[in-house]
């Protein structure tokens, strides 16, 4: 579709309602196979122009006898004539927006609508209003052009890349958002697009907990094509930090190594691990008792205790049980289950550098930080523990900052399930919205595992293909029921339904291609920049040991 595309009438409004959707009879000459669920349409009423999306398609006939005695499919002449006339297609339309038409317009195509005048559709166009497929001009009117706070995320499903869907990133980052979809649908790629646009437009700073090294290092897509890392895309704006000394030769050299002190860990960080480590409620109560009794260094002290019942030994679990008033068996079970933490080399009693401060300083300077979990990437416990801990500490300090902080987390249901969401820092951030200028970008394949209240607080949702009905129900709770059929017809890859406050109406997008993300990179310049940045970092923070 080019900028010179002709506005094409596809049908006529014949019925329906605002709540249940409008019904459009498709014109006989227009092939239903050129349309799809989720496609944008416009309806020209007498006083307003309406915008909506196709939510369903129904094949109907003017006479029930056609169902009982259909013509032979081999009789092409008869079937081709009946198709579109006696047997016709009804499009169900979910009406979204309306804009008043200027009274002195000559032609609808000459309107030059002001998108600030768009509002939710609160009425319906009259019977027999003409219906058109949305043109690139319509999409531009609705979603705006790319500018300092509108970022290009994709193309309306089935249209070519000249038609751009631009997201209001300034609005987006003011609230927590979510990217959902089953494995392999392109969640990570879309997240990379969103983060790239936020970085490019300097609208906030990102703290990305990169569990699977998706953002810190380049990866190959399924066709073997290289997808650049955020660091390669924005070498001067992005810092990669590794958890512990966990990066390998050949990988992008991290700007810093993150070590965590036992004293940074609080009981709520342990609580979030209760499911992963199979901690009992008695064990968690004991952890609170230990915290009260031993202070902030309780965990380091506790894990160094001897699992002995010798009460004379003050370093024994038995002595701790007596001191805290807990049962020995409870403390012993807790000790055994937390013992796994001792294997994490990034957890230290007295790390040389206060790593969390290092992260904070970078964020404060406007740098985007990717925390690469490196060799811990398959360790769920490490991911949950560190993500929770660092987020809480950064959040506590961020109150005075002017810059918006976006924290990107994967496997979000681990932090935001209904059992722990009320207790974790993530639940707090998701519910408090923009109060502290900290928002979440949650990435998850199982939205039904996320607390319903948290889901309802998400500002904008990017929904890739989902198969489980529970996931679809939970993600669309509160949205129009019509969108359900839209989600169920999404392609398996690189296609998403986007709904929420960062765009005027729901839209199905083909996510912009990788090529469009990298075409502004000058490889030679990038390599030089990386060297320069590393030199700067060495000057600032001292040389790294490899």
């Amino acid at each position: 579709m080019s900028s010179t595309e002709i506005k094409q009438k596809i049908g006529t409004l014949v019925g329906g309602s605002l709540s249940a959707g409008l019904e459009i009879r498709l014109d006989p000459e227009y092939s239903v196979e050129n349309l799809y669920v989720g496609d944008g349409i416009t309806i020209d009423g007498r006083e307003k122009r309406y915008f909506g999306i196709i939510s369903d398609m129904l094949l109907q006939s003017s006479d029930s006898s056609l169902r009982s005695f259909p013509p032979s499919s081999s009789d092409f002449f008869v079937t081709s004539i009946l198709s579109g006339t006696s047997a016709f297609t009804i499009l169900k339309i979910s009406l979204q927006l309306a804009v008043s038409l200027d009274s002195n317009f000559d032609e609808f195509d000459q309107l030059g609508l002001d998108n600030s005048s768009f509002g939710p559709a609160t009425t319906v166009p009259p019977h027999f209003s003409p219906v058109y497929r949305a043109t690139s001009k319509d999409y531009t009117e609705i979603f705006g052009s790319e500018d300092e706070h509108h970022g290009w995320i994709g193309t309306p499903k089935g249209r070519d890349e000249e038609v751009k869907i631009n997201l209001d990133l300034e609005q987006l980052i003011k609230r927590s958002n979510g990217v959902f979809g089953k494995t392999g649908t392109g969640k990570t790629f879309l997240t990379r697009v969103l983060l790239s646009e936020i970085i490019k437009k300097n609208l906030g700073v990102n703290l990305i907990f990169d569990m699977h090294r998706d953002y810190s290092d380049s990866v190959n897509d399924e066709s073997g094509k290289k997808i650049h890392s955020l660091k390669q895309l924005f070498p001067s704006k992005v810092e990669v930090m590794s958890l512990g000394k966990s990066f390998n030769k050949g990988q992008v050299r991290p700007d810093a190594e993150i070590m965590v002190s036992y004293s940074d860990l609080e009981v709520q960080d342990i609580e979030i691990l209760s499911e992963t480590l199979n901690l009992t409620s008695a064990g968690l109560l004991a952890a609170h008792a230990l915290d009260r009794s031993y202070g902030e260094k309780w965990l380091g002290i506790f894990l160094n205790m001897e699992p002995s019942e010798d009460k004379e030994n003050i370093n024994s679990l038995s002595a701790a049980a007596e001191r805290t008033g807990q049962l020995y068996t409870v403390l012993h079970t807790l000790w055994r289950r937390l013992e796994i933490l001792k294997k994490f080399e990034f957890l230290q009693q007295n790390p040389a550098e206060e790593s969390i401060k290092r992260i904070f300083t970078s964020l404060e300077r406007g740098k985007h930080v990717i925390l690469d979990f490196g060799s811990h990437q398959s360790n769920e416990t490490a991911y949950i523990l560190v993500t929770s801990l660092i987020t809480r500490r950064i959040y506590e300090r961020w109150a005075e900052q002017d810059n918006q902080l976006i924290i990107a987390i994967e496997e979000a249901h681990k932090f935001l399930n209904s059992e722990v969401a009320s207790q974790t820092i993530f639940g707090t951030i998701a519910r408090e919205m923009r109060k502290w200028k900290v928002t979440l970008l949650v990435v998850d394949q199982r939205p039904s595992g996320i607390d319903a209240e948290v889901l309802s607080q998400l500002g904008t949702k990017f929904i890739h293909q989902l198969e489980d009905n529970r996931d679809i129900d939970s993600i669309l709770a509160g949205s129009s029921r019509d969108l359900r059929s839209v989600v169920s017809t999404l392609a398996p890859k690189q296609q998403a339904l986007v709904i929420g406050h960062a765009l005027p109406m729901p839209v199905v997008i083909d996510v912009r291609s990788n090529d469009t993300l990298t075409n502004f990179i000058n490889p030679e310049k990038t390599a030089t920049e990386i060297i320069n940045i590393e030199r700067d970092n060495d000057d600032l923070f001292g040389e790294k040991n490899e």
């Binding site: 003017s62 006479d63 006898s65 013509p71 002449f77 008869v78 081709s80 009946l82 006339t85 006696s86």
Partner: protein, 201 residues
Amino acid sequence: MKNQNPIAEIIESSTKSLIVQCYELYQAPKLGTLIKTLDDPSIIGIVFNVFTEPLDPSRRPIARGPFKNEPEKLYEDNPHLSLLFRTQAEIFILGHVDQLKTYIYELPLLPAKIHTGISLLDEEEILAFTNTRAFLELLIEGLDIITEEIFSISIRRISGYHNDAEKFLHDTGKDVAGNFHHDQQKLISLLRKLGRGPINE
């Protein structure tokens, strides 16, 4: 109006239909042929029935055969026979020409006069008259009179004059379907007949 060669003459006239007697025995316009009356305003119609009968209805012919081929020799040997019969055609009216010489796809307000001559529309006239789908309106209305078979023969014959006959048939089929909601099975039967393709002469 170009073709002015009369081939028949009106012997019965109403605002809906005409009966014409052909000047030559058995030389009637074929079914589905478009004709015009040679008066002013001219009436346009389509042949939907052709029949030959004795001039004196009380004297029914008797068999003279058997004949293995056409009975031409019988007519040669008995030249008076041709004078005892007449060939007639029934015409269904599809419109008329107004004073501005434009086609009006409505019934004439008054019938044509008895003894007015009729002639065939030539190719240019056929294309001009059927250039708009409006010519179908009265034809569809008269389906019960002219029958589906004659309807389809008419359309197939007209399509043969158009550059893209198949497209003409298809588009006409769409128009018919759009006006034919009450009996889909009849519509399918009609469309099957249309689907036989154009009649070229």
